[in-house]
């Protein structure tokens, strides 16, 4: 077996990276990822500007949010990303069944994330927190709902990849679509770890 696809070999010999162009997955997915990261960046700039113009609201805002829900969802997102990495390692190691199982784990995380988010929004409503409460919650709802949609279609994308593994379209030698989905999912995770710190933690 080729050493470069063995999970037990030296880490530095391993990589998603296509050796000819040194890009993990396809170039197209990276245009999408950089566009999405820029979109989230614009939202973060809006957050920072709203914060400097409304310091009191942004000081009080995070204290009324459900930290437990935010933290749990962060743990879930990070774990889903971990599962996706393990799925990539498994397919490289020619273990498609194992790879699909890791991806089902990631899908389950995505679904649990969405359920917790729905409960969190209901909890907010019960506390009287809504988009029009003040600008902090306006930004919170705009950013988190946008992210919610990404987790939704990202989970659907993971299911599509599982289908392609199960129908032997992705193999140990050819699984660029899985890599594309993996790096896209990690982008969703990157956006969330930033949102968590900005909206739930810092004041």
């Amino acid at each position: 077996m080729d050493a470069s696809i063995s999970p037990e070999s030296d880490f530095h010999e391993l990589s998603f990276v296509n050796k000819t162009n040194k890009v993990p997955g396809s170039l197209a997915i990276w245009f999408a990822i950089l566009a999405e990261m820029s979109e989230f960046m614009i939202m973060f700039v809006v957050y920072f500007l709203a914060k400097v113009h409304n310091p009191e609201l942004f000081y009080e805002g995070p204290t009324k949010l459900n930290t437990l829900a935010g933290t749990t969802n962060t743990l879930i997102m990070l774990t889903s990303s971990f599962f996706v990495v393990r799925a990539v390692i498994a397919i490289r190691d020619n273990k498609p069944k194992q790879s699909a199982n890791w991806l089902w784990g990631a899908v389950a995380c995505g679904v649990i994330y969405l359920i917790i988010k729905v409960f969190e929004y209901q909890w907010n409503t019960a506390q009287g927190l809504a988009t029009e409460t003040n600008i902090f919650y306006g930004v919170y709802y705009y950013v988190t709902f946008n992210h919610f949609l990404h987790v939704g279609w990202g989970s659907a994308g993971l299911i599509w990849v599982i289908y392609r593994i199960n129908t032997h379209i992705y193999t140990a030698d050819e699984h660029e679509g899985l890599i594309n989905m993996a790096v896209y999912w990690h982008m969703i995770d990157l956006a969330w770890i930033t949102i968590f710190l900005l909206l739930y933690v810092i004041r």
């Binding site: 990690h186 990157l190 930033t194």
Partner: protein, 97 residues
Amino acid sequence: MKVMTHTKIIDYLWLILITLTLFSAYMAERAEPGFVSIAIMAAVLAIKGRIIVDHFMELKDAHPLLRTLMRTYFYVIPAMMILVYLFPEQIAKWTAL
């Protein structure tokens, strides 16, 4: 020296990410807001972002432009967290319509 396997490294990195998240939750609930806590949280974000970009996305050994672009987000956002904490009035003045 024994080289750690890829899966082992990924397992440890996941544990580090989880620990940093629990630490952030503790800071959200307990820590007094102030420069030190903002600086620590900025560092936490920089570390978490870098782990995911370098090791989960595997950009560590990828094309330098792609690697730099993705890493830059996790220099810029933590820097913005600190600047907005230190100079809120100045930034508000510059961005007033």
